[in-house]
Every structure is written in C-alpha cells, then in structure tokens.
Symmetry: C2
Subunit: 807 residues, 2 copies
C-alpha cells in the first residue's frame, strides 16, 4: 500500500509498474499494489493487510512516515512481521525540504519498530531482503532506511540478488506462521482490545523477549546471507586500528565516508577507527561493546538529525548510555569521552574532511559536543573547522561533473553513460545527480565516478578531471569550474562559432581556465542536434563529446557502445530515429573543437551582477548567493531562524533558461489577457495606462490602442519577462488570435534572444516605473498577470496569481 | 481549535461551554472555540490561527497528539508562541488504553516543542499560565503536560488564580510582538519556503539561541509568579537530604509520591532525595547539575513510558548524558551509577513503596537497570520487589473508598462530598475515581482523602478507614474489603431487611469483617430512595450515610451541609424535589443500622465461581481475574504479548448490574425478533427448534408455537441472559406487541431477580445445548440474536451482531 512522497516514490512507482506488467514475486504471484489517499491511509491498509496474513510493505519518507506513526505503534504492539522501506528525509520545520536526513526515522524510534540502516546502494538492496527474513522470524516489524537521495538516488555498480537467492532467505514455515496469525473467521479471536490500568503495563513488558531476540535473529540471517553471497554485514561493524584511541560512530551512507577518512588517517599513523551502526533498534549494547576496541578513549557520535532542546541527538544518547552502563556494571574499565555532532542535515554533503574534523576534535583537551559539520555556525559556534584540503580520492578514479538544466537531457545521458561504463565496459561506476527543488528548468549537477575498484564515495566531487557545462548561460551566473581539478578537461556547449567562443567567456572564467591549466573543448550542441533533426535534444551530442574527450574509455569502443545504446533505446521508434541519432554522434565528433587557450585573459565580458545593486541587503547577501550556487557558504547568522523570508524574490531570480520565448504581435492581439492568465511563471504581464503616462517610454516600448470602447486615451501593454520564461508554450495555446503554428514562427531561439534581452530589459524597467495602486494580493501571491486597473478604471479584478479579489 | 479525546476532553468541553456562555478572557474578548474533524485538523487550525497572530491553544492526548506531529514540527520550526495543554495518555500498541502515561508526550519530544510537566492539580493550573507567559517571550512553543486521569481527573483543594493575576503575568508587548509576526497582506513576506541542501542545515542551527534562552525565561516567569502567589517552582526541584547518596529523578504526579517516600526514609535515617523534573525540553543540564547534591553516588531515573528496543527510556538517557558530559568536562568528580526504570504505564498506580523499591535497588552492588515497578514480570524479570507494607499515610488523613457502578450516582455524590468538605468545612480534600473503560454500568471505585493539611498523595488508597459498597452484588464477584484497614467502618447497601443481611454475606466477607474488626453498617438505599419518591436515585441516601458514620465532619454540621447542597442543586427543580431529597436524608438516618458482628462466621453463602470450571485455562486464569478486579496481580507471562485474546469472553462476564430486566410474555409475543435485534448487549436471543428437541427441556423452559405457517412442529424460544442486561429498555421500546407501560409492570426489580436468575440459568444452559449450525459470524461477532436456522429451515439470515450474511 503506497502513497508517493519524495524521495521514496521511485520504489513505489517501480512496484506499481511491475504489478501492471504482471511481474511475479518469488512465489509466482503478482503482488497487489494499492495507492491510497495519503500515507495515513497507506499505513492503515498495510496494517489491515498484515492482519489478513498478507506479506505487506510500504515505501515512504518524511511527513509520510509521520502520518504512519499511529499505525506503526499498533503494528509493532501486535508483533506483526513487516518491512517499511524508508528513503529517509528531513521533516519540514521552518522550511520544507525534500532532501535526506534521519529526522523522519528518529521521529518514529518510539514506535517499537526495529530500525535497520543501510549505507550504500548495495546494502539497500541486500538489507531489504535481510529485514524481511528477520521480521518473519522475530515478529518485530522493521523500518529499513537509507539516506534519501544520497543512497536512494545514487547509481552505483551492484550485484543483484536473483530470485533463487531471495527465495532461499525466506523460510516458508515463517510465512505460514505469519498467515496463521491472521484474523480469520474460521478460528475467530480478537486482537486489539481496550485495556485498563490493571494489565496494560504487563502487556507492554510481555514483548521484551521478542525484542531481545532480534539481534541474534538478524545476525543469523546475515550469516546465511554471507554464506550465500559473500557479502558479510554485522549489527555494528568496526573498521580501523585494533588499538584505536579515537573512534567515530555513524549510520548510513556517511559510514563509507568516515571509513575512507579513517583509513587514510590510519595510513598516516593515527590510531582511529569507525563503527557503522546497522541495527539501530533494538540497540544491542553488547554488540556495540564487542566491536569497540578497549583502547578507545574518545568517541565522536555523528547524527544526521537534530532534536532542539535535547541533551544530545539520538544515536549519541544511546552510545553514552551503552558505555556508562558498561562502566557502571564493571564491564568496561574506562569511560571514554563521548561527544556528539550533527552532519548532513537535508543532504548537506558529508566529506572525508568532515570525518577527519570530528576525529581531530577528540584530540582536544575539552572537545566540543553538540558540534556541527559542514556549515559555518557563527551564531552558536557549534561548527568545527574543516580542512577542505584533506582529499583522499584515488587517482585511479575518473571524476566528472556536468552542469545542466532539469529536463535538458543531461541527467538522462549521464545515467546512460554510467550504464555503458558499468555494464558494457566492466568498470565500477557511480552517478549522483544534484537537483534543486525548482524541478523542470532548474539546475542539475551530475557527479560521475568511474574506476577499476568499487566506488565507495557517497559525497560530491570537489576535484573533477572532467567538467562539462551544458548551458552556456550557467557561466554568467555560477562558477562551474570551481570543481575542476588542475589540468582538467572542460567541455562547453556554446551557441557561438568556434572562433567566437573564447571572447564570449567572462573574465573570471578565462582566468580560471588559464590558472588551472584546463583544456577547453567546445561544441554548439543545439546546432548539431537541430541539424541532425533531433530538435532541442542535445543529450546524444553531449554524451558523445564526453566519451570522445574524457578518456574514460577508448574512443572507438565508446562510440560503439553509444551507438549500441541508441539502437536499444530507439529501435522501436523506427530506423529513421536511430539514423538521426547516429548522424548526431558522427556530427558531434566533427563539430567538437578544442580551443587553444591563450596565455592571458582577453575577455571584456564581465559577469553581470545576479541582483541589482539597489536590492535590499538581504537580497544581495543571501538571496543572490543562493542564485549563485553558493548557499553552502552562507553562515547560520544570515539564515532566518523562523523561516521568514522577504517575498517577491522570484523577481530577482532571472534564470533565463528557455531557448524559445514569445514575442508580442500587437497588431494581432485582441487584448483578452489569456496569455497572461495562463502563464505559470508570470512572464506575461498586461496593463492599461493613460497615454500621457507613456510619453517618456523608450523607443522599444510597445503599446496598442485599447480595444474596449470609451477609453480612447488608454493604451494596452503586454510585457514579456523573457528571462523567466521556460518555453512551455501555454501562452500560445491560450491565444485566440494567433495559431500555434504562426506563433512558433514568432518564437525566437537562444542565439537571437540575447540582443532582444537588452531592449526588453529597458522596456520592462520603464514598465515597472509606471504607477500602480498599492494593493497587494490577499494571499501574498506575486503572480499578478493583470495589474489592478484602479485608479485608472473602476475595475476590481481578481489576482491572477491566487484568484482572490484584492484586500 | 479542539477535537475531543480522553482524558483531555474536559478542558476542551469547558472552553467550549465558556465560549457559549460568553465568558470573556482577560482582555474582555470571548475566545473562538472551533471543533475540527480530527486532531490533525485541530493542529492545522492552530497553526493557521497562530500565523494570523491569534493567541491559540489546543487540548489533546495520545493518538490525538500524534496526529498533530507534522504541524508541531512546523509550529516549532517557525518559532511560534503557543501552548498545547496535554493530558498525557498511553499510545495504543497491542491494546488501546485511555489511561495515563507519558508515551504520547515522549513521541513528540523530537518536534522542538518545549515540554513542561506539572505534577499536581495546582501545578496544572499554575503551569498553564507559566507556559503561556514563557512561550510569548521565548517564541518556542510549549507542550504543557500532566498525567492523564491521575492529575487531569483528580479533585483536590487548590488556589485559583484570579484574572488580575493572570493578566499580570502576560506582557502585552509580547502579545503585540506575536501579532506583529503574523502573515499580513499589509506588509507581505513569506514563511514556510522549500529549502535545499545549501541552507536547510544552517536554518536548523539558527534556532539554537532561542532554545538556550528558554530555561532562563521560564525561571524568570516562575520568579514573578512566586512573588505574586507564594508558590515557587524550579525547572528541577530537589527535595531531600543535602548529603544524599541516592536520588530519584522523576516527572509528573509521581514526584509527589516519591517525595513523600523519600521524606519518610530520610526520617528513618536514609540519605535520599528526589529531583522533580518540570522543564523536560529544553533540558537544562546546568540546572539539573545545580540541584543534584555532590554526594550522590546512585541515581534511579523513573520514566512513565516505554520505548521497546531503546537503550533506556527518554528521561533516563537525558540524565545519563547530562552526568557523563559533566564528568567528561571535569565539572563533576564522580560519575554516579545511573539506573532507569519504568512505572505507571497506563495509570498503573505508583505508590511510596515503589519509590522506596527504586531507592533500595541503588544499594545493590549491581543494581538492575531497565527495571519495572508495579507489576510482576516473571518473563523478563525486570520487576523490582515492592514492600507493600511500606505505608506512610498520616493518621490525620481520613481515607474512604466507595464501590459503585458507572452512572449509579456514587461518583457524583462523592464529588459533592469532596466539595462540601473542602469548601464548606475548610478541610483539604482529594477525590480520585477509578473507572474502567466499560463506561456505563461498569464499576467505579472512589478514593477520597480529607485532612487538615494539603493532600499530596496521588495514588490509590490501600488502607481505608471507611469502605462503602453501594452494590450488594459486588460482594459476590470482588473483594471490596481488601482496602479496609483494621477497625474500619464498612457501609453496605443491601436489598435485605436488617436482620437478614449478615446471613446473606458470603463466607469470605464475614471472615474479613471479623478478622479486620470492622464495624458494619447497612442500609437498603434503593428502598429508602423509592419510598422518598426518588426512584432509583440512591446517591443522596448513601452520601448521608457516609457523613453519618464516617466521622469526617460532626454529624449535625454534615447533615446541614448536605441539605444546603440539596437546596442549591435542586432549587430550580422546585420545592417538591428539594423536599423529597430532604425526606431521603432523614429516612436514611432512620434506616441506617449498625449490625453487631458475631464472633464467628455463620454464613453458608459461598461466592460463586466467576467463570464455569469447564472454561478454558486462559479464561480461568486471566479473564476471571480481570472480572474479579485482580488484574493488577496477573504476571507478565500470562498476558498475551501481541494483544491476541480469545473472543467471546463477554459470555463469561456476567455483571448482573441491572435492577430491572425484561421477561418474556410468550402469550403476547408475535415472534418478530425486534427485541433481540435491538438489544445492545445480546441479552435476548431467539431461535426456532423442532419440538422433538425440546422433549428434555427443564420445567422452566419457555417456548411457543411458531407463528409462521407451514411449520406446525416448530417451537419459538426467546431467552433472556438477564445477567448481561443493563436495563436500557430498548427491547420494550422496540416491541410492537407490548406497550412500554405494560412492559414496565412486567420488569422485575433486584429483590425479585435473584430467584429468577437460578431458573433462568438452568433454562439457558439447556438452550445452549441445542444444536446449532457451526457457521461463525464473518466478523467474529458473538452477538447472534437470531441463531441461524439451517438446517431446520432453508433460511439464510444475517448475523444480528454485524449484519453480514454468514461465511
């Protein structure tokens, strides 16, 4: 029973798809997948299905998990075998976030569910099965969780379990026992009574033996699994020096990072180690103590969650209690110093340097507790200093970063490349894709690693040997080259002739290219795609260029793989489409040029400021840095504590992402305003003005006589904020005066857009100076397609943004 | 914004009533009270109202609080001033329970709400105000909670704050600041954005300063409050020996119990103390350390919740972390041994003897942790032995216990008595009423204490100087005299002449009366009430008897108070009603007799077994003990761990509570079956049988020729399980053949009921041996008013219990 919520949706979508395709499970049945009205309903349906004896699961995250809480207490209280697979995600507080941390799982740690954490793509795959095997035996329900996005959306080489292996881990007798506990009219009983103070407490304690057995049961399953697959997992796994004096304790994908950091430090002679917690609930103190070296004097426990007002985060508290208890009982001689820290909230990147910072803190006389990693906390001074120079990536790993836009094909092409490299070329591969929550039209940054060994590096690439910028305009707003390593290859999609490109680069980009000694390759991918008949689809072109110059695979082999992939993807669309793509591959190679980098900066292009200099202090110091992709560096003191932000900042966020934008044909326009109403991005704004107001209008300012009778002195204006346009075409569809075909002709492509932009900007500046009444939208919307016409006319219109009449 | 849930409902109901009565708040406004469709809706409405700048609250418990969780994260994340008043209650696990513990509050401790715990009726009153004062200043929302039932439903003498005092604690500037933060179209801003990994973490840390200030802000409010009222509270309050070596840490009403126990132990020379935690979140480690004597070597932390699979319960973990941190930072020389225990789950009584058991455990070399108090855990052996002989109640306190039935007037009369004694007589008084969740018709036990000093004893009375049994039949099923102290007064309502009563008592009751040297008073309260024209309302009669013989007040004074109360209660119903009650008071005194207790047991009445000896082992060893009111003593091993109970046990729970029951007039009956259909307790069961089957029927077995044509050999039977009857009268209302008036004449009263019972039982026994088909109700209902007639007739009827056709 499912209800989609990011980042768990893919799991449910795949299950739904498999059902519709009739894919059978290991017993040859096609499971029923039922989408409910909410996660509350999904949890209720799961509870009900379990009580009918069906093996049942759900997939969820964040608020979805919270809505399941009441049912989870019941499911656990009734000792019901089930696995919830959770892509863990932040809970909405001062802001909503779709990104990953453990705050959702920690909010359900009171339910009595076992909580079992996988830390990689392979583990997520394996642990889903281990959890199912264990819950059937233990009768304690399992929450199997892993880091939302970082694990749920990472591509990595993994070994898939086949059905026979899955089958062998599931004991049919336990399934029958589960079914035997179902509510059944053939042998009626009652489950879920109302109890009074006389017995409720005893009932709560009667479950203890079941919890006590979980660790051993899961270990048993892990043993059988290891014998079968060779992949061995422990409830708590220690890696590091057997005589370590300092240890990190961590859960989830951060453990791989910490392990890599500790290994590097160990090589440098430091006595450190890492404990990865896999079974978080029930928390087996004895298993933790068994793996913790007796030599340890300092422990840093890292939690990927925050509980304001608590004495410490959850895992920290558990570790402290475990150790204090052991010392109290005389089982351990010395109480280590235990400090706790927070990291990775909402997918904040967690790097080896941060792991090192936590280990380093333990060297202090009075180490800080409740510290933070990965931010600058200039307010509460919780943050530890992190040495960004601590780099431990192996030279054998190819690292490539791609800047694209949502829905421009970059991510899809990169997923395809990962597949080619891992499946066809037999290398290990990793792909991770950083989207922002603007969705379509927003930026995507793809981080790809390839190499001869397994890639265990669940953090972003900061030193890439290959950087691609699939949208030229990104160079005007951001700094894609900050991730370029010295000597790296830089592939730039530029809508200019080969000879012009260098001079079109802003000064700062030229400077970086020269300083970092980058090799610069350019292609006009849009032109190649258009010429090959692929329209705006540049993914094949840019993927070909990547393989051609990155050196990750031999050239000819790579082109062969790409063509094979094209054949596979497009065969059912016909040979014509396949041929077009083949042509694009060949043309790409022909139109890909290396630019000889001059020794000196020659550009006169300066990056325009992201926001006007007269914007408010907050816009300039916070909002503009978010636009620039430098939000990571904004210190705590500058972020509003209660989530209160100035409104209307979308006016400053000029993404300029569309390759086609509308232009106004004032000769055809009937002034209905529908284009303005339907535009989802407020690109098109209409207003009436008295002609006297337009006396000072600049030359390019367009207006038309008003078609309404009785206002001969009024002029109508449609303004196009084309930098906000996403090219969706709804305005054209809505227009009763222009046929879509005709409108298409009038649309302009990117190459023609830039000069237009300047004139438009001047025109809009004037437009915005025209006096409007000061009534704001009741609901705070800044989508005001039709400005309120008062006081010019007695017209009390509704806000186009929210539909309300004005306040 | 409210949605009713036990035990918080009364708060919301009163607020609703006050609104409808137009009662103004301290600003002269009548607050809006809005009931929503669920607690999820209530939380959403609160969130919305707060964002509009209104001071807003809600009242909730248990699952209700869980449904508020997503909004609570938002409210706290947005630093919004509000107070949720929470009557804390168990969360449903293997069973639902409406009773009190902290599991609901602990399930929301991750939200970022401040959690502020009051431990008595006075504190609940005071802290609601302190919380409101503090939240306005701190901007952190407060969850003000107290023990469901034990505090929410206890009557106790308290000092009410007047409006001027409330007014003086609320700073209007802070209210204006709260309103100033409201969403407002006049100065628009946005609150509640979607954030990305770049800034979400910083935003979470930006709230830290607000949390850090909460302890000082609340302390400041407490100081102002103390100056005004003389009632001084601390964030953590220590009571006990300044050189204590052992200390209990506890929250809520249990603190009063623990303090009383520690005081008694201190007097006996033990070096012990108690810390009451009032501000649980944010947890101020420095305040805790400041009150904890340096001499302490052992700490037992008592939690009123359970988190299966955790390393310990929440408060325990906090105390361990606080101390380990202090030792680690060198702020404290020695790490005490800290053990944790659970008590009071679902209103399980917590007594001074249990507090002593926890302190005693700290004397052990290896004290047990994760222990339990108040149950016998023969499964996990978590329970500590409790010395029930440890009694610390003062002789100056009058203790009285009353056994009644829900809706029989006992609780109402006792609340009235508490009021008389506290308000009119100026003594301190406490009333606590133990209901079971059967509601109407179920047992009530009233625990009343009175005395010259404040009553701080939030636990049940185990040694009462006065015991009243308002229902004779209770003696047949339970042992009301187990709470009678030696030499106590026993008031028995018996439907027998004075001279007969002694012989009607079961052997075991006579034995107890003699052994405990009880004084026995009897009255036929029903007869007195009937004769005074009060129908079945015996409350005035029994209340009069209590005052007449308990000695809590001088006789004449008490009668005066009762009459004054009658005048107040019934004046608006007219002088006739007042006079009837006055007559009942006088008649009560005339018809109240003391029975001279013989030296030896003379009875031949033996309590009948509560369940038949051929019932299943579970029914005999568990269910029967629940019926007997001895569920407290059932050990853990005997309670189903997963909440699975045998169904149909209501067949064994013969409460025999109604004073009127129906009898069948087979001469008038048209065999429509409606009486059987409408009976909510399955008292009336109908069936057809072939006459041959009835050959062996006992003499009293009634049947009638079937009115349906074509079955001359069939007989119709209506059977009345009169021990299950609650006297609701629905059968009479539903009967088309008998007018209600006629039926009333046929109803029998209690005095006539007992002999009928015997004959009915024999008749029913035969009835139940008649063969029925073995089809069970689809939904497991055992309410089968009309037995399925197959194979006698081709009739496929629906189950009268659930309406489904059979499986």
């Amino acid at each position: 029973a499912i209800y989609p919520i990011t980042p768990s949706s893919t799991m449910a979508e795949l299950a739904d798809q498999w059902m519709s395709e009739g894919l059978p499970n290991i017993w040859g049945n096609v499971p029923v997948v039922q989408e409910m009205q909410s996660e509350g309903g999904a949890a209720g349906a799961v509870h009900g299905a379990l009580q009918s004896g069906a093996l049942t699961t759900t997939f969820t995250s964040s608020q979805g998990l919270m809505l399941m809480l009441p049912n989870m207490f019941k499911i656990a209280g009734e000792l019901t075998s089930t696995v919830f697979n959770i892509a863990s995600r932040s809970l909405a507080t001062s802001a909503l976030s779709i990104f990953g941390d453990h705050s959702d799982v920690m909010a359900v740690r009171t339910t009595g569910f076992a909580l079992f954490c996988s830390g990689s793509v392979q583990e997520a795959h394996d642990f889903a099965l281990l959890a199912q095997a264990a819950t059937l035996e233990a009768r304690i329900p399992f929450g199997h969780f892993f880091d939302g996005f970082r694990t749920s959306h990472e591509l990595n080489t993994l070994t898939l379990l086949d059905d026979a292996e899955i089958r062998s881990m599931i004991d049919d007798r336990l399934v029958h026992a589960h079914r035997g506990r179902a509510l059944n009219p053939e042998h009626p009983f009652i489950r879920g009574t109302a109890q009074n103070p006389d017995t409720f407490f005893q009932a709560r304690e009667a479950v203890n033996p079941y919890y006590e057995k979980v660790p051993a049961i899961l270990e048993g399953a892990m043993d059988r699994f290891a014998a079968m697959t060779g992949r061995r997992y422990g409830l708590f796994d220690y890696d590091g020096d057997a005589e370590a004096d300092r240890v990190l304790v961590i859960m989830g994908s951060g453990a791989e990072v910490a392990r890599a950091a500790a290994a590097a430090l160990s090589e440098a002679g430091e006595k450190v180690g890492v404990i990865q917690v896999r079974l978080y609930r029930p928390f087996s103190v004895s298993h933790l103590l068994a793996v913790l070296p007796a030599s340890v004097r300092g422990i840093a426990v890292l939690d990927k969650t925050k509980e304001p007002g608590a004495t410490g985060e959850p895992l920290f508290l558990d570790v402290v209690a475990a150790l204090a208890g052991a010392v109290g009982r005389g089982e351990r001689a010395v109480m280590p110093v235990v400090i706790g820290g927070r990291y990775g909230l909402s997918s904040k990147d967690f790097t080896p340097a941060m792991a090192k910072a936590a280990l380093d803190e333990l060297k202090q006389d009075k180490p800080k507790s409740s510290f933070t990693l990965g931010i600058v906390d200039d307010l509460g001074h919780t943050s530890l200093a992190v040495d960004d120079g601590f780099m431990i990536e192996k030279d054998s790993v190819t690292r490539a970063v791609f800047y694209g836009l949502g829905a421009d094909g970059t991510v899809g092409a990169n997923k395809n490349s990962v597949k080619i490299i891992a499946e066809d070329a037999g290398l290990y591969a990793q792909g991770y894709f950083v989207y922002d929550s603007h969705k379509s039209g927003a930026q995507t940054i793809s981080h790809l690693r390839f190499g001869p060994d397994p890639i265990e590096a669940p953090y972003l690439i900061s030193q890439a040997g290959f950087v691609a910028c699939h949208q030229f305009d990104v160079l005007m707003r951001q700094d894609p080259l900050k991730v370029a390593a010295s000597g790296a290859t830089f592939l730039l999609n530029a809508p200019y002739p080969k000879g012009e490109v260098w001079d079109r680069l802003p000064v700062s980009v030229q400077r970086t290219i020269i300083d970092k000694k980058l090799r610069l390759f350019v292609i006009d991918a849009s032109a190649v795609a258009r010429e090959a008949g692929l329209g705006g689809r540049t993914n094949t072109v840019l993927q070909t260029c990547f393989f051609a110059i990155s050196g990750v695979l031999p050239h000819d082999k790579a082109i062969g793989y790409i063509k094979a992939a094209i054949r596979k993807s497009y065969a059912r669309k016909g040979q014509v489409v396949v041929d077009k793509n083949f042509a694009a591959v060949d043309a790409s190679l022909a139109k890909l040029f290396e630019i000889t980098v001059p020794a000196e900066v020659t550009s006169r292009v300066v990056k325009p400021p992201l926001v006007p200099s007269d914007a408010t202090e907050f816009i300039r110091s916070v909002t503009a840095r978010l636009f620039a992709g430098e939000g990571e560096k904004i210190p705590v003191s500058m972020i509003p504590a209660d989530g209160t932000f100035p409104s209307g900042t979308s006016a400053f966020e000029k993404r300029n992402v569309s390759e086609i934008v509308p232009i106004w044909r004032e000769d055809l326009c009937i002034q209905c305003g529908q284009c303005s109403f339907v535009c989802p991005h407020s690109v098109i704004r209409a207003r009436y003005d008295h002609e006297d107001k337009l006396i000072d209008a600049p030359e390019g300012f367009k207006s038309a006589a008003v078609t309404t009778r009785g206002y001969p002195e009024a002029r109508f204006t449609l303004q196009f904020y084309i930098e906000d346009c996403t090219g969706c075409g709804l305005c054209v569809e809505a227009c009763p005066a222009v046929s879509p075909r005709e409108a298409e002709i009038k649309a302009i492509n990117m190459a023609d857009k830039l000069p237009i932009l300047a004139a438009e900007r001047e025109s809009i500046r004037f437009f915005e100076t025209l006096p409007v009444n000061d009534r704001a939208c009741v609901n705070g919307s800044d989508v005001q397609g039709v400005q309120f016409l008062e006081p010019l006319f007695e017209f009390s219109g509704a806000c186009a943004g929210c539909g309300e009449t004005p306040y």
